[in-house]
Symmetry: C2
Subunit: 226 residues, 2 copies
């Protein structure tokens, strides 16, 4: 039934960003079988010497050359048939990065054709069980957003409340009331307010904020700082 005699273990990483006011995910088009030409979540084998978080961090770095990334383990998929002709168990993660931190050099190796952002609302056909992984990831991301200051991983160090709100709206795919949103955020006491304002636009300047340190460090998951 299965050719392999042992389990192989991989990590697959659902990498989210916000781009063009949409929630997008990084996908790689496969250059070889199985699922040649199909798109897949970035992943790689776990080495015997590293733990799972380290493996995720390494794979993420190999694919994106990005550091300081929020990573959180999601769920482990191990159907015997999820990967043809081998028993590959994958531990899935999700990551959040600022899209401008990443220039897609489209590493044209043997195994990879293209690497690109895709809106989660218009996805190509995915390889393996990656659709399931992605759906778990989206659910978890939304859950985290509601209860943790995870959004700061997607924003510049200092940001306006409007930027923050847009981030929430894009991820949750809803509109939020501006006044209530601001009231809520400020009452949470997790933001620092600055005397700096945005400028260089023909609109009223907006005050800048950031998340305070304690808040950030108390969030679950970990930051892959290499």
């Amino acid at each position: 039934m299965l050719e392999s005699k042992t389990h192989e273990v991989t990590v697959d990483i659902v990498i989210f960003t916000i781009r063009k006011k949409k929630l997008e995910v990084l996908l790689i088009q496969r250059g070889q079988e199985p699922y040649k030409d199909k798109w897949a979540i970035p992943g790689g084998f776990v080495r015997l010497s590293e733990n799972l978080d380290e493996a995720a961090k390494r794979v993420l770095y190999e694919k994106t050359h990005v550091k300081d990334v929020y990573l959180e383990q999601l769920y482990t998929f191990g159907d015997p048939y999820r990967y043809p002709n081998a028993r590959v168990i994958t531990v899935s993660y999700f990551a959040l990065i600022r899209s401008d931190d990443l220039k897609l050099e489209s590493e044209q190796g043997l195994n990879i054709q293209q690497i690109n952002w895709h809106s989660i609302y218009s996805l190509p056909e995915l390889a393996f069980d990656h659709k399931d992984i992605l759906s778990v990831a989206i659910r978890r991301l939304r859950e985290r957003l509601e209860y943790t200051p995870i959004a700061h991983q997607l924003l510049p160090k200092k940001f306006t409340l409007t930027q923050l709100q847009k981030t929430y709206e894009v991820i949750l795919n809803t509109d939020l009331d501006k006044r209530n949103f601001r009231k809520k955020m400020i009452s949470l006491g997790i933001l620092n307010e600055y005397e700096e304002f945005t400028k260089a636009s023909s609109k009223r300047p907006a005050r800048l904020y950031d998340f305070n340190e304690e808040t950030i460090s108390s969030q679950s998951g970990f930051v892959a700082d290499n």
Copy 2:
């Protein structure tokens, strides 16, 4: 560094019950090294032919001979040093069973000395990283209890509101207001009310309830029915 050349994959199952008005967990005392005589969460290797949920279900059945059990995947632990002299990655699960469904025949094999319930508040020293696994399990159980009708897994088919409340109190380790609790449960619309009452005690009889079917089947996790 590590002797093995491949990953081995196990499932470890945190099995909860309520017994003597306490939240308890099933532990097995190890009969051999490593961690001989220490207590461990029941676990076993994942076979190549089965998926992770099936493995968890099988291991659970082998250890407890109990069917119809709620099982949910928790988290995957894969530190290279978590298991001496081998690379063992474990996918943890938690399970809920009614303690009277289980008679502990204390299977006295080579590997196992004793199998017993332990209050989560007075645990012996645990093998491997099982303390971490258990702490994840407790957190998840409490989280589930707040948002899902998971408690029915620990109760007889029909139960009184007082029994239900005690279940919540034991798991959450808090006292709850009787009137508010009842009001809340009833307003959730997930209970069926019967014209049956408890009897045979020198107190006022209590009305019996159960969870309605749709509610139960919509809960996350799965029921290992064999």
